[in-house]
């Protein structure tokens, strides 16, 4: 269903960090087709509007979304009460395409809320360990309070799951620095690795550059990009990044395509 939203019931709405919340939604009647990790939905807050939000979890037929309240719609969605309904359209866009990384080492690199779209990818990879090589998860955030899903990464680390923050408080005994500083501790063979990167654009560029430098092939660096979106169906024109319509050709694209486009200011 791509034209009008289907009603979904809010099963839970819990705080994730100080400024993000995680919603779990279940279809009231008809369900949308299955989402793949990396794809996104258009979430509709009644009477307020719609925004694109990646899926952050896909278990038991429910849709999980983690979002930060920064605009009218995202604030309204952050405030929905369990039992009420929101509208959902989707699935839209390209996914991470884990099957294409079969047999390769996996390197998941997340910055801030960029971990949300990577979470279902990690869960999928953990459920099929024989299909790929070593799984590395690198998580960066501004402060320890901004780290998402705090209880989960402990169970993820096989062989490596690292976390780092830009600014530490007195209680933080872990890494401090940008997420790429964790790369030295990850176990992967660069030319046999597929990387999955999501975070602020500056972090994506820095990570892409570093991974290329280490020998990960550009087309095996999969990055998730963000632009303004209104329709998600390729008709509104807002999400253009040069030749790409990101709702259709993205949000996940190979760094071989993304790098030259991200290098142009205000493209």
């Amino acid at each position: 269903m791509t034209a009008v939203p289907l009603p979904y019931r809010v099963v839970s709405n819990r705080p994730e960090t100080t400024d993000t919340r995680t919603l779990t939604l279940r279809p009231v009647g008809e369900a949308l087709p299955a989402f793949a990790p990396g794809q996104f939905a258009m979430l509709y807050a009644f009477g307020v509007g719609e925004i694109p939000v990646s899926v952050a979890g896909l278990q038991d037929g429910a849709l999980t979304h983690t979002l930060r309240g920064v605009g009218a719609v995202s604030r309204a969605l952050c405030a929905v009460r369990p039992g009420t309904q929101v509208g959902v359209r989707g699935p839209f866009g390209t996914g991470w395409d884990l099957p294409a990384a079969t047999g390769r080492d996996l390197l998941v690199v997340a910055g801030g809320i960029g971990l949300a779209p990577l979470r279902p990818l990690v869960q999928a990879a953990l459920s099929t360990p024989r299909n790929h090589g070593r799984l590395n998860i690198l998580i960066g955030a501004r402060t320890p309070e901004d780290l998402l899903y705090r209880s989960e990464p402990d169970a993820w680390g096989r062989p490596y799951c690292g976390m780092t923050v830009d600014r530490a408080g007195p209680e933080w005994t872990g890494h401090v620095g940008v997420v790429t500083t964790l790369l030295d501790q990850a176990a992967f063979t660069p030319h046999e690795t597929t990387a999955f990167v999501c975070g602020p654009e500056v972090m994506i560029r820095a990570t892409g550059r570093e991974l290329l430098h280490r020998g990960v092939p550009a087309q095996h660096i999969r990055v998730s990009l963000e632009r303004n979106m209104h329709c998600a169906t390729g008709h509104c024109g807002h999400c253009q990044l040069g030749p790409l319509l990101l709702c259709r050709d993205g949000p996940v694209v190979g760094y071989d395509r993304a790098e030259p486009l991200l290098a142009v200011r205000e493209l």
Binding site: F46, V70, Q85, C231, Q240, P243, L244
Partner: protein, 392 residues
């Protein structure tokens, strides 16, 4: 109907309609329940509006066009279609500037019901589609119904529309359809094609059908077999029009030109003139961008989603939590031009420009897309010239 000895370029349905044939055409289309839209003189411009009869066509009117300039002008003859593109295009009808997409109602228990807007069945007949504008319609078809997600409302309006192309015999000073390969002769996609001829033998139209419905309608009108004089005159007038284009595009691969000039100095030059008003995007027959508006009634339990045209020149167009991606006029003009001539190919496998010249005419500061393309082309040649200069 033409005999077997007709010239090889003759369409088997070719015939000649007099003015009474055109009157009968409008009557017949209306009798079939169609809303006939065509050019008419109104408010100092030739606009597209519903026609109740062929009398409303702008007989005897022409237009004078230049960058940032549009004036209607009395002709010395009674031609009805001797004017080039006006301020509107057919997208005003097929992809209207404001349309409701869905309505949603909230029940006391919090339940939500969403209903897609079912567009009223429309049955347009477009009379006087210029060949460049026929291409523009086909380009919007690719955008709206050519991909994975089809716009049902557009499809409904589009598939119900009957298209009568009128070939161009009087191009304007801002026209460049020859450069874009879209005119002035009719290309496939029409239901009927007409060529207006006015000479000592009278005022008449060479008509051809492109579809069965077109042939059926043509057959029902007062007509006579196409004579050689009319055929020849029609062909010569259209050929002459091709030689009278007011503008040209540089004769290069425009897609490659735009892909290779993202850092050009020319963007600063045009940005110093461009008001980022978005007039070019509103007048352009292919520009399709829209935004959405969500509204509720006073109870708050009835909501509507509306879609309206938006322009890539609007500051909010690329809004993200961190601010607008394209915050400068330079980047917004560059986006429009590179999309229109370049990245449109990547996205929809065609050019986004048909050479109608509307963006030139309706720019309040007379920015000329062809002049900008020529300037970018010149600048793309410069570094080579400088290197040569240094070497010598």
């Amino acid at each position: 109907m033409p005999s077997a000895t007709a010239p090889p370029d003759a369409d088997s349905t070719a015939c000649v309609l007099d003015l009474e044939g055109i009157e009968a055409l409008v009557r017949e289309l209306r009798a079939r329940g169609r809303t006939v839209i065509g050019p008419t003189a109104r408010d100092g411009a030739i606009v597209l509006a519903e026609l109740e009869s062929a009398d409303e066509l702008p007989y005897g009117w022409g237009v004078e066009l230049e960058a940032g300039y549009y004036r209607m002008k009395r002709r010395t003859d009674a031609m009805a279609f001797a004017h080039s593109a006006g301020p509107q295009s057919w997208k005003n009808f097929l992809h209207p500037e404001r349309a409701r997409q869905w309505t949603a109602d909230r029940a006391p228990d919090g339940g939500m019901t969403v209903r897609a807007e079912r567009p009223e069945p429309t049955s347009f007949a477009f009379l006087g589609v210029r060949p460049c504008d026929l291409r523009a319609i086909q380009i919007q078809d690719r955008v709206m119904i050519g991909g994975r997600h089809r716009d049902d409302a557009y499809e409904e309006r589009r598939t119900g529309a009957f298209l009568i192309v009128v070939e161009c015999v009087e191009p304007g000073a801002t026209c460049f359809c020859v450069s874009m390969g879209t005119g002035p002769a009719a290309q496939p996609g029409y239901d009927l094609a007409l060529t207006e001829v006015l000479d000592d033998s009278g005022h008449r139209f060479l008509a051809r059908a492109g579809t069965e419905e077109g042939a059926e309608i043509l057959e029902s009108l007062p007509h006579r077999p196409a004579d050689d004089i009319t055929r020849t005159r029609a062909r010569e007038d259209v050929e002459a029009a091709a030689g009278r284009m007011g503008r040209t595009m540089p004769d290069v691969d425009l897609r490659a030109l735009l892909a290779g000039t993202l850092d050009a100095e020319r963007w600063n030059d045009v940005a110093a003139r461009c008001l980022t008003c978005g007039n070019c995007t509103m007048a352009c027959p292919t520009c399709f961008c829209t935004t959405t508006e969500d509204v509720t009634d006073l109870t708050g339990d009835h909501a509507e989603r509306w879609r309206r045209w938006e322009s890539c020149y609007d500051m909010d167009f690329t809004h993200l939590p961190g601010g607008s991606v394209r915050s400068t006029g330079r980047s917004r003009y560059r986006q429009w031009l590179t999309h229109k001539l370049g990245t449109w190919w990547d996205q929809f496998d065609s050019s986004g420009c048909v050479g109608c010249g509307r963006c030139i005419v309706w720019c309040p500061v007379a920015i000329d897309i062809t002049e900008e393309a020529h300037a970018l082309h010149q600048e793309s040649l410069e570094p080579q010239a400088e290197t040569k200069g240094e070497a010598s």
